[in-house]
Structures are given as structure tokens and as C-alpha cells.
């Protein structure tokens, strides 16, 4: 019955992968965004200090007696002092003439007061360069003073290292948080599915009620479909049960009529072969009638076990009544029905169902027991409440003890015996409805034994 499902992928894995991958990408983006942004700010910091320094140098430039003087303020270089002891280079030009400082520093053309920033390699060090100019007006001519100021980037590199560390820490923390979050989200989502699965699995075979517990919107279509599927299933099952019951009922009455006619005819017929045929006919009719009866019983049991009505009953009284009712049939086969056990076993259960089950078991025993044998019926209250019915026939075929209770299944050794195979099924259904079981075994001295545990 169970097909092996073809599994393609896992929702959980897909969710976790997507979310974790997304988190990793986001964390990386965060890392680079923070780093780039703060790098810019750090560079702006260095630039503004360089600009302040170069401006203060330019402000100290003057013309005295037509000679350019640049009285570099002590603070100009002082403000370039850093924790990393960065190198400082500078050059002062009058128009294109080098005045002082480091002549190899690259000189850029500047017009106006705007400073020009650039990053260059000087003496094997990466330096940030600022070039700024100022026009001085002397008595005879205008002259432009240009100052190039350069600072190595040790401090900036230190800052960047620090920033990178912090940004990486942020990114990692962000990533961890997202992963935890995605794990949680996945578990919650899958949890809903799991809960539904559990509640489907936990249901009894007859439980086809719709699911009424609240489910998330996304699962509503699934549960709705499931409910409607179960509804249709329930409907079609009850329909077929109804049909069987109806059919059995319809068949039984005419069968009884036919049987009485056949019996009357048997009385009138003298010819042996005709009597033989009639007996066979009656046997066939009995079998059909019995089957119809059992089908009716089974339909009734299916119906009642769904809504079990428990009453306090005395099992001994109940079984005794059945034994009394079946004694005439047993006597027809010269069988003795013996009732043993406790005189009083109180139980809370559905008397109709239990009656049905016991009757079917005794019926089976009568059927399979050889003539002039006996059927032992015992009722015990401990260790578990149980009713055992044992005959002195050939017993169950040992290989089939487990499969016999399936509906319409008969033992392979049942040839020549009237029966529909429903008897054991009914007994099992009743036992299960009461939370018990039916145990089939063979007696060591020969004969089958059915123990109805309640």
C-alpha cells in the first residue's frame, strides 16, 4: 500500500541556504560599505589637516624688499604630528623657481585658492599631497607662491586597520544574528508543517474528521484540500458501508424465504439424489445468509465503534445468553458448549458490540470444530479482562495466524465450511474499539483458540 515517495530537496535546507546566503551577502556589503565610508572620512580628516597646514604656510608668505619670505609657522608642521610618526615633506616655489624644502616633490599647477589633493609615491612611501597657491602683489610685479605639502599615510593605515577590524566585527555579528534569525524562522515555519504531519499521523484509521485547529494562511489551501479529500473519502466509505448493509439486508429476507421453501421441498422429495441437491442448496443458502448477517454486523460495528457507547455490563451474563442462544445450533452438530471462568466479570463497554464479537467467535468455533467435540468458552478478569473461545478442530494454519483477521480472508484449511471470513475481522474491530486486541493461537492438544482481550 505505501508508495515510496520521491523526495526532491528539503524546504528547510532551501530556506536555511537562501537565508544564510543572503545574510552572508548582506554582511559583506555592510563590511565594505562601512569600510569605504569611514575610509573616506579618515582621508577627509587627513586632507583637512594638510589643507590647514598648507594654508597657514601660505599665509606666512610675504614680500619684503622684493624678496619672498615664507616664515613657516611652527604650528604648521606641529599639526601634522601623528601617533604613527608620519613623515612630512614640503616644497615652496615662487612661480616656477624652487625656494626651499624637498625639490623632488611633484609640483601641480594651481590657480585660485583651491587646494589640489593627490596620492603619490615619494621616496618609497605612499604620501598624501596637497598643493596650494597664493598670489602676492609686490611693488613691481605679481608673483605666485606655491606650496606642496606631503604626509605619509601611516596614521591613515592604522586607522584603516582599526576600522577594518571593527567593520569585520560588525559584519560577523550581523551575519551571526541573521543566521540565528533564519534558523529560528525556518524552525517555526517547518514546525507548523511538522505539527500538521503529527496530527495527521496520530489519527486513527477511522478518523476522517476535518482539521479545525488554526493553521497559517499559507497552509490553509493544503489543509482545506486535505479536509475536502477526507470528507469525500468519509462520504464514499459510509456510502459503501451503507450499500453493503442495505444489500445484505435486502438479500437476507429473500434468502430466508428460499430456505424455508427448500426445506419444505426436502420433506417432500424422496429420491436420494434430489435430496442431496436440496441439502447442498440449503447449505449454500445458509452460507449466503450468514455472510449477509456478518456483513450487517460489520457495518453496524463500524458505525458503533466510531461513537463507542460504554455501559456497565457483566460479561458472564452476556456470554451466557449467547451460549444459550447458540446451544441449539451446536447440538445440531453434536457439539457441547462449555462456559468456564469467573462467575462475575464487570466491564464497561458496548454490549451490542461485545455480543457480536463473541457470537461470531463461537459461531466460528462451532463451524470448525469436528462433530461430537466441544467448544470451551472462558471468561477471565485477570491479568486482563478477556474472553477466550477454543475448539477442538485442526487449529489455525500456523503460517497464517497473523493475517487471518483481514476481512474476507479465510484459513486455507477452511474448505467445505460455510463462512464469509468476516467473523475474526468483526472480533478484531470490536477489540480495537475497546482498546483491546484479538490474540489467535493453537492449543497444544489441538484446536484453535481465539482470545478477545478487552
Amino acid at each position: 500500500m505505501t508508495h515510496s515517495l520521491s523526495i526532491s530537496g528539503s524546504l528547510r535546507n532551501r530556506l536555511v541556504l537562501t537565508l544564510t546566503g543572503g545574510a552572508a551577502v548582506l554582511a559583506l556589503v555592510l563590511f565594505f560599505a562601512i569600510r569605504n565610508y569611514t575610509t573616506q572620512i579618515a582621508q577627509q580628516g587627513q586632507d583637512s589637516i594638510l589643507n590647514a597646514a598648507v594654508t597657514s604656510i601660505l599665509d606666512a608668505a610675504s614680500i619684503r624688499d622684493n624678496i619672498i619670505e615664507v616664515d613657516i609657522p611652527y604650528a604648521s608642521f606641529s599639526m601634522l604630528s601623528t601617533q604613527s610618526d608620519d613623515l612630512v615633506f614640503y616644497a615652496i616655489y615662487q612661480d616656477d623657481t624652487f625656494l626651499s624644502g624637498y625639490p623632488e616633490l611633484p609640483l601641480t599647477n594651481v590657480t585660485g585658492r583651491a587646494s589640489i589633493f593627490q596620492t603619490a609615491l615619494y621616496r618609497g612611501e605612499t604620501v598624501r599631497l596637497v598643493t596650494a597657491g597664493r598670489v602676492l602683489i609686490g611693488t613691481q610685479k605679481r608673483t605666485q607662491i606655491r606650496v606642496v605639502l606631503a604626509q605619509s599615510q601611516g596614521e591613515l593605515a592604522d586607522t584603516l586597520r582599526q576600522i577594518s577590524r571593527t567593520a569585520a566585527l560588525f559584519g560577523a555579528a550581523f551575519f551571526a544574528l541573521l543566521v540565528a534569525l533564519s534558523y529560528w524562522a525556518t524552525s517555526t515555519t517547518i514546525g507548523q508543517l511538522k505539527r500538521l504531519t503529527t496530527s495527521v499521523t496520530r489519527r486513527g484509521p477511522q478518523d476522517l474528521r476535518p482539521f479545525v485547529k488554526p493553521v497559517p494562511t499559507e497552509m490553509a489551501p493544503l489543509v482545506t484540500s486535505l479536509n475536502s479529500l477526507m470528507g469525500r473519502l468519509d462520504h464514499s466509505l459510509s456510502q459503501s458501508e451503507d450499500f453493503i448493509a442495505e444489500a445484505a439486508h435486502r438479500v437476507r429476507t429473500p434468502l430466508a424465504t428460499v430456505r424455508s421453501y427448500a426445506e419444505v421441498t426436502l420433506q417432500r422429495v424422496d429420491k436420494e439424489e434430489n435430496r442431496q441437491s436440496l441439502r447442498a442448496m440449503i447449505r449454500a443458502i445458509d452460507e449466503s445468509s450468514r455472510a449477509a448477517g456478518q456483513l450487517l454486523d460489520h457495518a453496524m460495528i463500524t458505525l458503533r465503534s466510531d461513537h463507542l457507547e460504554r455501559q456497565d455490563i457483566d460479561l458472564v451474563t452476556l456470554v451466557h445468553e449467547i451460549v444459550l442462544r447458540l446451544t441449539p445450533i451446536a447440538e445440531m452438530k453434536d457439539l457441547e458448549l462449555c462456559l468456564h471462568g469467573d462467575s462475575n466479570v464487570a466491564y464497561s463497554g458496548d454490549p451490542v458490540l461485545i455480543q457480536n464479537a463473541v457470537r461470531n467467535l463461537i459461531d466460528n468455533a462451532i463451524k470448525y470444530a469436528p462433530s461430537e467435540g466441544r467448544v470451551d468458552i472462558a471468561i477471565s478478569a485477570s491479568p486482563r479482562i478477556g474472553i477466550s473461545v477454543c475448539d477442538s478442530g485442526h487449529g489455525f494454519p500456523s503460517a497464517e495466524v497473523d493475517t487471518l483477521a483481514v476481512r474476507f480472508k479465510r484459513g486455507t484449511n477452511a474448505d467445505g465450511t460455510v463462512g464469509s471470513g468476516l467473523g475474526l475481522t468483526i472480533a478484531i474491530d470490536v477489540a480495537k474499539a475497546h482498546g483491546g486486541d484479538l490474540v489467535l493461537s493453537n492449543r497444544p492438544e489441538g484446536g484453535a483458540c481465539a482470545l478477545l482481550l478487552l
Binding site: V70, P73, Q83, D85, G101
Partner: protein, 335 residues
């Protein structure tokens, strides 16, 4: 052409040998493999005890100790940094510019506070204030000046005593003299007034502290301004004749610094020397050597040590230096 090249190659070592040193001494066994060549502005008598202890502790290293004036050291070293292992000078500004120009190499694992080093290349190992030295005889019966202002007043009060009997560094020649002068001028206008007063009294200009102290102790001059106190303090024989005054208005304290040349022939031995030097001099209680320690006399930071940083290069700028020397000459040279 080839002859000229050969001649130059032949002459070059001769020139080096011919270089005139104020002092020159070899410490340790001359046959050692590692020969440290140290060019220094510190007089041998001040540094010898340390070098001797160094070579006795590291017998595989010998030290050739060459003494010159601070500004000369700068020229000599810049001309050929591959000839020297270590440069020691009290002219912090010149030393820092050498490092800034990439002529020094960093030394790892030197235990030194951040304010006493620059780029792990320049290491300070003393803190020494500039002092006013006076001849006790010249100030007999008069209270000795404790500030620059008091010195100005003392000089003005008795011009006949001090005419031609005041000494200070010739800042045009002396690197450390220039450093003192520029730092003084930066700190206060009093410096210029003092220079003018001293110029009016026909100040004597010296290249080096040694000669100034000699002249002061024998009474040739009565006052020496801006002399490293350590020199006077180390010369026991002049102690009685000279009083050392650390001006209380504002002190100018320099740090003697050492560095390893970028092209040092023995960089590892040089690093060992620097580490040992810094370690010994960092102990404020050390009294085995005549040089004052780095952390001596309480906290050096309170004594306003000149900060090691790029600002030291300000007064080394050609234009700035020209202007400063012009002003200085105007004040000091008046005849």
C-alpha cells in the same frame, strides 16, 4: 677620464681618513669582526664609560668613536651614510630631519616610551636642560640671576664687568646652539631682548660647549648662556668655579638622540648598541655613567622637553633659517 676616476677612488678613503675629528678613539679589541663606527657630538669623556661597559659586555664588537660638532655631523653623515653605523647628536632637529629624509633605519624591540622615539628610528637617551653658567667670582657679593629677565638686569646693571665677557653658541655654526636659540625664540620674546643686551656687550661666540666652559672656568668670560648643563656638571675640576643655573622662567630641555644609519655596515651590532644604550639610560637611578638619564630629575615631561615631531623641521627650512639668522645677527653682531 679613467685616470680621474681612479684618482677619485684612491683619494676618497684618504679624504675620509683626512677628515678632521675633534676626538677619535677605538674601544674594544681592534681585531673583532664587528666594528661599530659611531659619529657623535658627545665629548668622549662623557660617553667613554658607557662605551667601555658596552664593549666589555659584547666583546665581539669594537667601537670607533668619532666626535664632531652637531652641524658638521649632519653634513658628514648626509654625504656618506654608508660609512657610519650610528649617529648620536644633541641637535634633535637635524637628527629628526635625517630620519624624515629616510637616512635612518628602524630598530625593533627598543623598550622606550613613545614620546622619546620617532618612527622607531630615532631614540632619545638623555634629557638635558640648557643652563646659564656663571663664574662665581664675577657674581661675588651679588645674587645670581635665576631667570633670563634677571640675567638681562644683571648684565645691564654692571656693563663694565660683562663687556666682552659673555659667551654663547654661534648659532650659524652650532647645530645644537641653533636648536636652543630657535626654541628660546619660539617660547618668549625675552630671548631677543637678551640677545640684544648681549650683542651690545660684545658677546663672544663659540662653536662648542667645551671651549665655553674652559673660558668660563678660567674667568675669560663671566657668563655662558645656553650651555648643556651636563657638560659642566661632568667636569669635576670646574665645579667650584662655575654655578649652573637652570632658568626658572622657561626651561629648554633637549634630548640627546641616537639612530642607526640606513646603510650601516653593521646594522645588527648597531641595533644591539641602541637597545643597550636606551636600556641603561632609561633607568632614572643610573649613576654609573656621566650622562643624565632619560627619565632623570622627576618627570621629564614636566621639564618641557622639546617634542620630537615634524615641527622640529620648521626652523631648518632654508627661508626660515635665513630669516632667523638675519634677525639673530642684527641682534647679536652690533659693531
Amino acid at each position: 677620464m679613467r685616470i680621474i676616476v681612479a684618482l677619485v677612488l684612491w683619494l676618497l678613503p684618504q679624504v675620509l681618513v683626512a677628515q678632521e675629528w675633534q676626538e677619535q678613539q677605538v674601544f674594544g679589541a681592534p681585531e673583532t669582526q664587528q666594528k661599530l663606527r659611531i659619529i657623535s657630538s658627545t665629548d668622549t669623556f662623557l660617553f667613554a664609560p658607557f662605551v667601555e661597559s658596552f664593549v666589555s659586555r659584547y666583546p665581539e664588537i669594537s667601537v670607533e668613536y668619532l666626535v664632531s660638532e652637531t652641524a658638521d655631523i649632519d653634513h658628514i653623515f648626509r654625504n656618506d651614510p654608508g660609512v657610519f653605523d650610528i649617529v648620536i647628536s644633541s641637535a634633535m632637529d637635524l637628527q629628526l630631519k635625517i630620519v624624515n629624509d629616510g637616512l635612518a633605519q628602524p630598530v625593533a624591540n627598543v623598550a622606550i616610551p613613545p614620546w622619546a622615539q620617532w618612527r622607531q628610528s630615532l631614540f632619545a637617551f638623555t634629557a638635558e636642560p640648557a643652563a646659564i653658567l656663571i663664574n662665581r667670582k664675577a657674581f661675588a657679593g651679588v645674587s645670581s640671576p635665576q631667570t633670563r629677565q634677571e640675567l638681562i638686569e644683571a648684565l645691564r646693571a654692571r656693563p663694565e664687568v660683562f663687556q666682552g665677557r659673555i659667551g654663547t653658541y654661534d648659532v650659524r655654526q652650532s647645530g645644537v646652539g641653533y636648536l636652543f636659540a630657535t626654541q628660546d625664540a619660539r617660547a618668549s620674546e625675552t630671548y631677543w631682548r637678551l640677545m640684544e643686551v648681549m650683542g651690545a656687550l660684545d658677546v663672544q661666540l663659540y662653536c662648542c660647549s667645551g671651549e665655553m666652559i674652559d673660558d668660563l672656568s678660567d674667568g675669560t668670560i663671566a657668563v655662558a648662556y645656553n650651555v648643556l648643563a651636563s657638560y659642566a656638571a661632568a667636569q669635576v675640576e670646574v665645579k667650584d668655579a662655575i654655578e649652573i643655573i637652570l632658568p626658572s622662567d622657561f626651561p629648554t630641555t633637549i634630548m640627546r638622540t641616537a639612530m642607526v644609519s640606513i646603510d650601516a655596515p653593521n646594522p645588527e651590532a648597531a641595533a644591539t648598541f641602541i637597545r643597550h644604550l636606551v636600556k641603561v639610560q632609561s633607568d632614572p637611578q643610573q649613576s654609573d655613567y656621566p650622562l643624565p638619564p632619560l627619565n632623570g630629575q622627576g618627570s621629564t615631561r614636566d621639564r618641557a622637553t622639546i617634542t620630537m615631531g615634524p615641527a622640529l623641521m620648521t626652523f631648518l627650512d632654508t627661508l626660515k633659517r635665513r630669516r632667523f639668522l638675519l634677525e639673530w645677527e642684527n641682534a647679536v653682531i652690533q659693531n
